[in-house]
Symmetry: C2
Subunit: 398 residues, 2 copies
């Protein structure tokens, strides 16, 4: 019997936002939740203790990376991913499909799965629903993602439909090969930027016995003008009583907008990757620590943050160690960004609880100079296809 | 009035080892003490909290690096090095002399000081006793080192004597420009590998009002056959009631050998640098974590270590994140190596207190396959000069 439970404790009266609790065999998290990305079995630069100190409650691991190195069977023999990376909270693993398209040298894609060359050593590797379920079982994650076909952007309607059909077939295969135990399986809705296809994907997938549902194929290079309206169109159609997960998103503005559309779970490399590149998210907007303006600043990165970095170090210090190429710059910036994201989620949950979510969302959108998801309307399919044709040489699923 | 105090609480009956306590305006440490090297205002990869968790009590900062970037006046304006790097324990700063010879493009060396080009931007910079004292005053370290001329290896007797004379002159200049306050000034004994010159340097410097004395010019590329006997010859001549500091040394075997010769203080990049290169010091000897043999090992790095790394992570995990190029590999390996060094010092202090230091020293020497400092005898000057002539193209002061 899976120990997985999900319960909504409150729905926002003014938006689609939901307050909830996700329970797994490795403990629970309040939703909406932001998962830190631990691609290769580590959230880059963070010890598990530091993750907890930042307020991180749930971590994402990457099936693709871990199956290539160190290998999922090795991790299984060492007691599973939780023990391997010394993280005893909940873990979600993706299916590997997204990375095959974005990182690997894809050599063949057929009805049953994909064949690709490893980006590490060039080995020829097969990944399909059966293998993805096996690898995620080896890893022992609490939430397993179905193996899907990530539709690239741009893609015309016909190609998007064909890709979606593959995702639906693989959803069935994933359900067949998934064995349960302490794990739960989520389905992934595709359909690109096309409302009719998203509707079809929701109809098809939500009838199946998944424990939760993800919106896939967004944040793959498309403009907000397409992402926001298709998200707002899709998210509310997902089952009310199951967690809704928006994969690979996003900025603070994306998070409040997506929560207002009814999303419960997020993951994104943005707080961690930007940290290593010297970019901080703060209550006053983005800060680029490498700028010379910070050289003499005795201000903290964020005056409204109580994280380890902000309570101990000045911008001048962070500027210095960043410019000096010190590892500690990555560490301290990551500590802050993860804390900021966790605080953002906690503040959203408090705002929903106190019936002031719209005002909170408005404040975040203002600070980050972003527009409200409600301001966008969905273009018709012909307009989207025309838009897609104008995108040249865009990296797909990036 | 400086708050600096040093007291010896016990002398080992079987060796020159001493148990003591060093007090500064920023707290005290038990001696023998190993200082972690925080070159650019950070012990690479470690937060101050992690340093404390490893048992680190005192940190070394590099005058040369910090004067070039971010600049000592900037650090002074930001409240000094302690506040800048958020380390509230004792800090010792070196004089900058060693790095000028090892890192910078030295363009001129005269009786008053040195002129060099920065290794960062090629700027022409002057460093002399006055400037070194000023920079270290800006940094606000608790222990300030006199500006010295680090004699390279190899060097013949005449060149070593000339270099030593410069060090003695600069020792007077350093004393002249040193202002006191909460800071204390240490002198540096030079004299290369020549016993008569070391004797002369001790006679000359130990008559001056320094708060402590360092043995400089060792671990600059010379073989143990020269370093050990000249250390054993020099250390016991330093004043009994003042701290004795062996600069830039060394391996675990070096530390027990030097403590047995009467040294109280150490610094070295070895635990931190080796950690980043995948080399661990353990109670069972050195471990190279990148070796394939560790890929499936569920053992900790060191079964006898209670550090964060060893109590939570397997060798298999450390091997994986090292090979994957993850920052966390540097962090976890550094955490262990610093903990190992601090435990080594704590165990030495316990052994001295319990009158079992020689046995403890013997055990460390066995584990690390090293010889006892007592097994070495000092060659005569002619032999040393001959030895030096046979060293070709050796990097000096490396």
């Amino acid at each position: 019997m899976p120990l997985f439970k999900f319960a909504i404790s409150k729905k926002d009266r003014d938006s689609g936002a939901r307050l909830g609790r996700l329970e797994t065999a490795h403990g629970g998290v309040d939703t909406p939740v932001f998962m830190a990305v631990g691609t290769q079995g580590t959230v880059k630069g963070m010890t598990p203790r530091q993750l907890s100190d930042c307020g991180v409650g749930m971590v994402l691991g990457n099936t693709y990376h871990l199956m290539l190195r160190p290998g999922s069977e090795r991790i299984a023999q060492l007691g599973g991913l939780h023990r391997f990376m010394a993280w005893d909270g909940p873990i979600l693993t993706d299916s590997g499909g997204f990375q095959v398209f974005s990182l690997a040298d894809l050599t063949k894609r057929d009805d049953r799965g994909v064949t690709f060359r490893s980006h590490i050593d060039g080995d020829l590797i097969r990944l399909d629903p059966e293998r993805s379920m096996k690898v995620q079982r080896d890893l022992g994650s609490d939430v397993v993602m179905a193996f899907d076909d990530c539709t690239p952007y741009p893609a015309d309607h016909a190609a998007t439909r064909a890709s979606m059909a593959l995702t639906h077939r693989w959803a069935d295969h994933s359900l067949n090969y998934f064995q349960g135990g302490h794990q739960s399986l989520f389905g992934i809705v595709q359909g690109g930027m096309y409302a009719d296809l998203r509707d079809a994907s929701v109809r098809e997938l939500c009838a199946k016995p998944f424990a939760g549902f993800a919106v896939g194929g967004l944040s793959v290079g498309e403009p907000k003008e397409l992402m926001y309206p298709i998200l707002r169109h899709t998210a509310p159609q997902l089952p009310e009583d199951k967690p809704r997960y928006l994969m690979g998103v996003g900025t603070p503005a994306d998070l409040v907008n997506a929560v207002s559309a009814g999303i419960d779970m997020f993951d994104c490399v943005m707080p961690t990757r930007n940290a290593r590149n010297g970019y901080a998210f703060t209550s006053e907007g983005p800060v680029s620590i490498k700028q010379a303006a910070h050289k003499d600043s005795d201000l903290p990165l964020d005056p409204n943050c109580d994280c380890y970095t902000c309570t101990r170090f000045t911008r001048a210090y962070l500027n210095h160690i960043y410019r000096a190429g010190e590892i500690l710059a990555s560490v301290l910036m990551t500590l802050h960004n993860l804390s900021f994201y966790q605080n953002l989620m906690a503040n959203m949950r408090r705002a929903i609880a106190a019936d002031r979510f719209p005002a909170f969302k408005e404040q975040i959108l203002q600070v980050y100079g972003a527009r409200d998801i409600l301001d966008y309307t969905l273009p018709d399919n012909a307009t989207i296809e025309a838009h897609a044709r104008n995108v040249e040489d865009h990296p797909s699923c990036g």
